[in-house]
């Protein structure tokens, strides 16, 4: 459970870094392909899935 908590916080920080920080303005100004944002979003979702299922098994859900 503790590991799940740690991972949740890590993913939250990573998501904030990607989508709501000065870094967001930097990468959106690079002229990257239009689907870049979806790829990054998918990355966050994959991390959530790994965290949710790992946490679920550990906590007996």
């Amino acid at each position: 459970m503790r590991r799940t908590t740690d991972l949740t916080l890590l993913i939250t920080l990573a998501a904030l870094f990607i989508f709501h920080s000065p870094f967001t303005q930097w990468w959106t100004g690079l002229g990257l392909p239009w689907y870049t944002v979806f790829v990054l979003w998918l990355l966050v979702i994959v991390l959530i899935a790994i965290n949710a299922h790992g946490g679920g098994r550990r906590s007996g859900d």
């Binding site: 459970m1 799940t4 908590t5 949740t8 993913i11 939250t12 998501a15 989508f19 709501h20 967001t24 303005q25 959106t28 100004g29 002229g31 392909p33 239009w34 689907y35 944002v37 979806f38 979003w41 998918l42 966050v44 979702i45 994959v46 959530i48 899935a49 965290n51 949710a52 299922h53 946490g55 679920g56 906590s59 007996g60 859900d61």
Partner: protein, 988 residues
């Protein structure tokens, strides 16, 4: 290309018919339960978040705000990412306390009618623009496809069909206890249709309009301003604002709360939803930019909100147009159905019932009344949405209407976050904050929409004039309303003191701990509950609710109970009823109903006892659900409980009212009172003599009571009692303490101690006797010689006579001295002088010796002994034992009477019984006869050392001697000695 109006109407009817069929199949078991309750279906049903605003309006918002439109979904992803901290606790509260809406949740935490009323009214007003948006989207989509203005009648028809669906599949059950499986599956199906429609539209835009991905990228290179416009809004304030609004809307909007928490079958499904729902939103939004660019490249002459329809019409694909139209219809109808359903729960529980429950007629069927009320409310809300649609000037685009509702919903965020993390928050703070935030929201976003002259654009101008250049109206309105809200919420909470009820609810919200009732139930039986509830709920509902609660607690149903329920069971029944009624009537009315009419006693001294019992019972029943630290703590509780239960000392713990809380195994053995019986009783109600014993000791000021002799059914017993006061838990110092009483059975210890004391006394007397005999013996010899000489030397008759008398008395003293010496020499045998001795021979020798005396010659010895009564003993000492016993028997026997001697082996013990038929020994002297110098013979007839010596000899040989109290005439001594065979076996 144009599609006929009637065609669109028939398609809509057909599609809604399919929805009916799916919902009906799920409700009636045609679809397998495994599928209906699958986590993926649950996650898909959350797609109700994507309304016609998403379906049509996303393209428009993307055109207007570029990538910022995605924040509406990224915010939801953030909320689900933080689900373990945010969603899971709310789900727990929702299912534990049957809270069917966000208004119920806040009313449960902050208490009072005002909370629920304010939240419901605010959400009702806040969501109306959103409902009108859905109606507007459907009519506009028809306008695009049919190229003619859709009559308001068509919008009305859409509203009516939605009402029918919502009533049939959303208002079939009274309480959220029964999930609307059909509705959930239908909404999940609608989500799938929306996704399919947009993905197909996106594919058509990419492949058919642009000719492939490469061509689309080529078009973008030719139009670099599109990519710039797409990325530009990231640096604006709108990006942050929309993220925050979507974050709150993910679980605060009534429809999201309803689908996420109320319709959740299995808490574990939320784990899947954490990632599957954001993934669904990602796929749903993937085609938005290709559709936007396709619309631009085609030069469509419709609003960007409807590019998806315009594109389908432009490429001439009628089926695609129909699919998109049905997708939009799905989005609008799903939102309206679930939203009105959620709002109907709120209106019923928070507006209607608190006002009308007291006027309920006991003869009416409450269930039917609630059901029809809910149906009428659903129809009324959709009618109000339709009215709003007719009134407002729809010049703001779809997204604007949706965002107005989002800003309304975010006003609940401080209250909900406080509910989860801040126990100091109060109802006054919440209401102040909510009213402040709502006022700003209304002034900045709703009022301009309702007036003819003003619009949101005018507000934007106003903001600009105030100096907020470059800041959009959504950011300003969100910032202002939330700031006012949070400030008043915090200040209001800090300036007021939370009530005890608020404090308890706050504790229940922030921790997994179960919330005990603050008092005792006054009612004594379940039927008493039913009678009192009848007045408010009506006979049928009252009986059903009480029986349902009894069944859930595995207690006997009404009418089958032979005994009144015990206080713990009544307390559990009260809690269960409050929970169930909360699902039926909302927490406000449930509390008013139960606590108003079925009063609890003051939360004082009784509460602790009953809380502990109720808590323990609930812990026992919910062990399977425990995880992590909770489970470890419960394991520790069980271990400590087992330690207490198996303690070889009687433990009895009592509460402040003398209710028995703990009655362990040793206490059961000592008292013979079963634990279940004891734990249902107070001290004074226990069977005698324990009621008096424990009650008196509990009331006394003594902390210890030693060697209390008590007559019990199985004989006389000796107990030690100890007691100590038990302190209340640290956080509940207001409760008086209970006591723990330890009961120690000392009967066996006492027996051993008295035997040891007896042996010690015998040993002391023996040593004393040896000393006296030695000291007396020498002068006595001198006296005897002198007396003898005196007789020889004198011829006088008197002297001779005196000499003879002196010698007689000296002989008597000699006899006493010899007895003393014999007794004194009975020192413990070391064991090497022992040999197998046949007791029959010992008895025969003893009879021969005894028969030498005059008295014995006139008595008959009746010896009945089995052969082979062999003991391992000192042969001489054995003869001595029987000589003493037979001598005594002869002394008390009359001439011609009989002395019986029986000998027999019982398993590993040989028992010899010597019985005379003399006057016997009084019962109170049975133990004293084994004490030295105690004799019942006349003075000069006995020394009182014979039986003590026998006692010592028998004990030394590992046996025991006692008097058989069952004989009614004479005395029967019973000598038990271990058989030689047993001793040899043990030694071997």
């Amino acid at each position: 290309m144009v599609i006929e109006l009637w065609w669109l109407f028939v398609a809509a009817l057909f599609y809604l018919g399919v929805l009916f069929l799916i919902a009906w199949s799920a409700d009636n078991g045609v679809l397998p339960k495994k599928l209906v309750e699958h986590p993926a279906i649950y996650a898909l049903s959350l797609g109700v978040y994507a309304t016609s605003w998403t379906f049509y309006g996303s393209v428009g918002l993307a055109n207007q705000s570029g990538l910022a439109f995605l924040t509406i979904y990224l915010g939801v992803t953030a909320a689900f990412l933080l689900g373990p901290y945010l969603l899971k606790p709310i789900l727990r509260l929702c299912s534990e306390y049957q809270l069917s809406s966000v208004a119920d949740l806040l009313a449960f935490r902050y208490g009072g009618r005002a909370t629920g009323f304010t939240v419901t009214l605010f959400l009702l007003i806040g969501i109306l623009p959103y409902i009108s948006l859905q109606i507007n989207a459907v009519t506009q989509s028809i306008q695009v496809l049919a190229k003619q203005a859709a009559p308001n009648l068509l919008a009305l028809a859409f509203c009516l069909i939605t009402v029918v669906f919502a009533v049939l599949f959303g208002a079939r059950h009274i309480t959220p206890r029964e999930k609307h499986s059909g509705l959930v599956v239908a909404i999940a199906f609608e989500s799938a249709v929306k996704l399919l429609a947009l993905l197909v539209a996106g594919a058509v835009a990419t492949v058919q309009v642009f000719g492939g991905l490469d061509s689309m990228h080529g078009w973008l290179q030719q139009n670099p301003q599109e990519l710039t416009a797409m990325y530009e809004p990231v640096s604006t304030s709108l990006w942050s604002t929309l993220l925050l609004l979507a974050f709150g809307a993910a679980f605060l909007l009534p429809r999201q709360y309803h689908m996420t928490f109320v319709e959740n079958h299995e808490p574990g499904s939320l784990n899947t939803a954490y990632w599957l729902f954001p993934l669904y939103l990602l796929l749903l939004n993937l085609p938005i930019f290709p559709i936007l660019w396709a619309g631009k490249s085609l030069g469509l002459q419709v609003s960007p909100d409807f590019y998806v329809l315009g594109m389908a019409m432009s490429v001439g694909d009628q089926w695609l147009a129909l699919l998109v139209y049905l997708g939009g219809l799905s989005a609008a109808s799903a939102m309206m159905i679930v939203t009105t359903l959620a709002l109907s729960y709120m209106c019923l529980n928070q507006l209607l019932l608190p006002l009308s429950i007291s006027t309920n007629n006991p003869d009416t069927n409450l269930y039917q009344r609630l059901l029809w009320s809910k149906r009428v409310i659903i129809a009324a809300i959709i009618a109000a949405g339709y009215g709003f649609y007719l009134v407002i000037e729809l010049n703001q685009g779809l997204a604007s209407l949706g965002l107005i509702s989002f800003v309304a919903a975010i006003q609940l965020l401080p209250g909900v976050l406080g509910l989860l993390f801040w126990t100091r928050a109060t109802q006054a703070g919440l209401l102040l904050g909510l009213l402040g935030g709502a006022s700003v929201w209304f002034a900045l976003l709703v009022w301009p929409l309702l007036t003819d002259s003003a619009s949101i654009t005018s507000v934007q101008n106003l903001i600009g004039n105030m100096g907020f250049e470059g800041v959009d109206v959504w950011s300003i309105s969100t910032f202002c309303s939330l700031t006012v809200n949070c400030f008043l919420y915090v200040v209001g909470s800090l300036c007021t003191t939370p009530s005890s009820e608020e404090q308890e609810a706050a504790q229940a919200c922030v921790s997994d701990a179960l919330r005990p009732l603050p008092g005792l139930v006054n009612a004594r039986s379940a039927s008493e509950y039913m009678v009192q509830l009848q007045q408010l709920l009506g006979s049928e509902a009252a009986e059903q609710e009480v029986n349902r609660a009894l069944a859930e607690l595995n207690l006997p149903q009404l009418g089958t109970q032979s005994d009144p329920l015990e206080p713990t069971e009544m307390r559990l029944l009260h809690e269960r009823l409050e929970r169930n009624l909360s699902g039926l009537l909302g927490p406000t009315v449930a509390r008013l109903t139960l606590r108003g009419n079925l009063q609890l006693t003051e939360p004082a001294n009784q509460a602790l006892t009953e809380s502990l019992r109720a808590m323990e019972t609930r812990l026992e029943t919910s062990r399977k659900q425990m995880r992590g630290m909770t489970k470890e703590l419960d394991d520790l509780r069980l271990y400590l409980r087992n330690v207490l239960h198996e303690l070889p000392l009687g433990v009895c713990s009592i509460g402040p009212r003398d209710d028995v809380l703990i009655w362990n195994q040793a206490m059961q053995n000592i008292s013979g009172i079963d634990e279940k019986l004891a734990r249902r009783s107070r001290l004074q109600d226990l069977p005698a003599p324990w009621n008096q014993l424990l009650k008196a000791f509990s009331a006394s000021s003594e902390q210890h009571l030693f060697k209390l002799h008590t007559e019990l059914a199985d004989g006389s017993k000796t107990f030690n009692f100890h007691k100590s006061h038990v302190n209340s838990p640290a956080d509940r110092p207001e409760h008086p303490t209970g006591q723990v009483i330890l009961v120690e059975d000392r009967t066996n210890v006492d027996l051993l101690e008295s035997e040891l004391a007896h042996s010690e006394r015998l040993a002391s007397i023996g040593r004393l006797a040896a000393g006296i005999a030695h000291e007396i013996g020498n002068p006595l010899t001198g006296i005897a010689s002198i007396a003898q000489n005196l007789g020889y030397e004198s011829d006088q008759h008197v002297v001779k006579e005196n000499s003879s008398d002196i010698l007689t008395q000296v002989n008597r003293i000699n006899a006493i001295v010899r007895s003393l010496l014999t007794f004194a020499r009975n020192e413990p045998s070391l064991g090497d002088d022992r040999e197998p001795v046949d007791l029959r021979n010992s008895i025969d020798q003893a009879i021969q010796l005894v028969s030498l005396a005059e008295q014995a010659k006139s008595v008959d010895f009746n010896v009945i002994m089995t052969d082979g009564l062999i003991v391992l003993a000192n042969a001489g000492q054995m003869v001595q034992v029987f000589v003493n016993l037979l001598n005594n028997a002869c002394d008390v026997s009359e001439i011609g009477s009989t002395i019986d001697v029986y000998g027999k082996q019982y398993k590993d013990t040989i028992v010899v019984r010597i019985r005379d038929y003399g006057p016997g020994i009084a019962a109170e002297n049975h133990q004293r006869v084994f004490e030295p110098f105690y004799t019942t013979k006349a003075v000069g007839q006995g020394t009182g050392l014979g039986l003590p010596m026998v006692y010592s000899l028998v004990k030394e040989h590992g046996g025991k001697i006692s008097i058989d109290t069952s004989v009614d005439k004479g005395v029967c001594f019973e000598v038990s000695l271990p058989a030689a065979s047993t001793l040899i076996e043990r030694a071997g």
